[in-house]
């Protein structure tokens, strides 16, 4: 059933595709985090924007990735940018919620104490609010990382030069070649679980005062790798 010789012959490809997979996911998570941070600060500072921002990220989630690829190929070409746009958009649904919840979890007295000490809004944000929101932000990073790693596989519809481990999944599917399929799918799952584990360790190190690891405020849904 499985062709182990084929697997042994393709370990170098596996390494390259795994690196690409990590890179595509890392870029999406990093950019998604930055955009979400700005959105979350806005949502918390201007309460009226909170609902619309959350609703917008929910709606983005329901757009099939293929539709985003189709629209963006004409604008941004067959490029890394076209690959990353859907991945980044799908992380927002997780990040915005968690960062905003992180800010919301800070007791009023703490904020008032910071004001009393004469902090400017910017000082208060970076010295008080962000450090206190870290547990939830990290929990969000964990959740977003796991789901983005699964999602990267869909980018293989943009040709052989993208897709990470999804390259093997799509090619294996097209050739009806189970060995290649598992060769992409199993490492992709392992990668997601390893990333989850590693980030759990980071969480523990950075927030040692938390007795149990902070769990993410879950979005109503997490983008699956819909493929279309």
């Amino acid at each position: 059933m499985l062709d182990f010789q084929w697997m042994a012959d393709h370990l170098d490809d596996l390494a390259v595709r795994t690196l690409q997979h990590i890179e595509l996911a890392a870029i999406a998570v990093a950019i998604g985090l930055l955009i979400s941070f700005a959105l979350a600060v806005l949502a918390v500072r201007r309460r009226a924007t909170y609902g619309p921002i959350l609703a917008a990220t929910d709606i983005l989630y329901t757009i099939p990735s293929l539709a985003l690829f189709v629209v963006f190929i004409t604008i941004t070409g067959i490029s890394l940018l076209t690959v990353e746009i859907p991945l980044v958009l799908y992380t927002l649904v997780i990040f915005v919620r968690n960062i905003a919840a992180g800010f919301d979890s800070i007791p009023r007295e703490v904020l008032e104490a910071a004001n009393g000490l004469g902090y400017t809004a910017r000082q208060r944000l970076w010295r008080v609010e962000v450090p206190l929101a870290v547990p939830l932000i990290l929990a969000g990073v964990r959740l977003a990382t796991v789901s983005t790693i699964a999602l990267v596989t869909v980018t293989s519809v943009l040709g052989d030069s993208f897709g990470g481990l999804g390259y093997f999944i799509l090619e294996g599917y097209r050739r009806s070649f189970p060995t290649e399929l598992y060769f992409g799918a199993v490492p992709s799952v392992v990668l997601a679980l390893l990333a989850d584990f590693a980030l759990a360790q980071v969480q523990r190190r950075l927030t040692p005062w938390q007795q149990t690891e902070q769990r993410a405020v879950p979005p109503p849904f997490v983008k699956s790798d819909g493929w279309i």
Binding site: V16, Q20, E23, L80, T179
Partner: protein
């Protein structure tokens, strides 16, 4: 043997790291190669890529396996890729022309369509891959099918499998196209068909499993021989002679100091690819599960287009 594939893969990562900036030197600028998604087209793209590399060109494989023709065609028109292997009859139809059984006529008609888009069609290979309507042997026997026009009378008793672009492709199921106006297949039959990507194994699997009874496959599909399927005769001559040929952007050619040498590399390769060769290359990838790069390299070396020592 495996080194250059590793390099090719390394180049993907490198391209990702530095962004796809093409800094090719004056005479041999980096060429971006693309292709449609199925194995035969991908292996031809890889063969052209390696033939150029053997002659000192730098190749960016960003667009290989990109997707169906309507995705690849605008990609080369807009300059996201510089070169693609193409099936000339199908492309001519795609460009709004009328393709026929004469390869040379198709090629010159296609060049007329491509000239205003600043694209050049290079010499076509003798290899022909035609769209083929295929049924299992027992289906052919049961319904007495030998040609495509036999299908109309029994179309409702059969389950149809067609390529995803079929409903709008004039060579297939588009209103007024081959199936509807030449063969009397109804729009309802086409709408009810199972749509799968053209020339990929899942379409053959569906025919093998009995999920569908009629499939449009590539005539070079290895499964046809393996399972003894019946290719129905295209008795209304609707399917064009689909020779393989590279299409290249004029602005890329203009950047070259020796355009003719560039064309000669590709023309020499194309001249050696006949239908049996094409089918064999296709089979090596899709059935034997060999790597594109290895299949391409072995073939190029066997025909003296690439050095044998690595």
């Amino acid at each position: 043997m495996r080194t250059s594939r590793r390099l090719a893969l390394g180049a993907i990562v490198l391209a990702l790291l530095v962004g796809a900036c093409s800094t090719g030197g004056g005479s041999k600028p980096t060429i971006k190669i693309g292709s449609v998604g199925f194995d035969e087209a991908r292996v031809m793209a890889e063969i052209y890529a390696q033939a150029l590399e053997a002659n000192g060109y730098t190749v960016d494989r960003a667009g290989i396996g990109l997707g169906p023709r309507p995705v690849v065609a605008p990609a080369i028109e807009s300059g996201q890729i510089d070169l693609q292997p193409e099936y000339i009859g199908s492309r001519l139809t795609h460009e709004g022309g009328t393709s026929g059984p004469d390869s040379a006529a198709n090629a010159s008609a296609l060049q007329e369509k491509l000239t205003p888009k600043h694209l050049t069609l290079l010499n076509y290979a003798p290899a022909i891959d035609t769209n083929a309507f295929v049924v299992r042997a027992e289906t052919a026997q049961e319904f007495n099918l030998t040609k495509v026009s036999d299908l109309a009378a029994v179309q409702d008793e059969l389950l149809w499998g067609l390529p995803t672009d079929c409903p709008t492709n004039a060579l297939c199921g588009a209103p007024g196209g081959a199936l509807q106006s030449d063969y009397g297949i109804t729009a309802d039959t086409i709408a009810a068909a199972t749509l799968l990507t053209a020339c990929d194994v899942p379409m053959s699997d569906a025919l093998k499993n009995g999920t569908i009874d009629v499939a449009e496959l590539c005539s070079t599909s290895p499964e046809i021989l393996v399972y003894g399927w019946v290719v129905l005769e295209d008795d209304m001559n609707t399917q064009p002679a689909d020779n393989v040929a590279p299409i290249v952007r004029d602005d890329y050619l203009a950047k070259l100091s020796d355009k003719d040498a560039f064309k000669k590399i590709l023309d020499d390769v194309s001249a050696q690819v006949d239908t049996a060769t094409l089918a064999d290359l296709y089979k090596q990838v899709s059935v034997d599960h060999k790597d594109l790069a290895d299949v391409a390299r072995t073939w190029l070396q066997a025909h003296g287009f690439a050095p044998t020592a690595s």
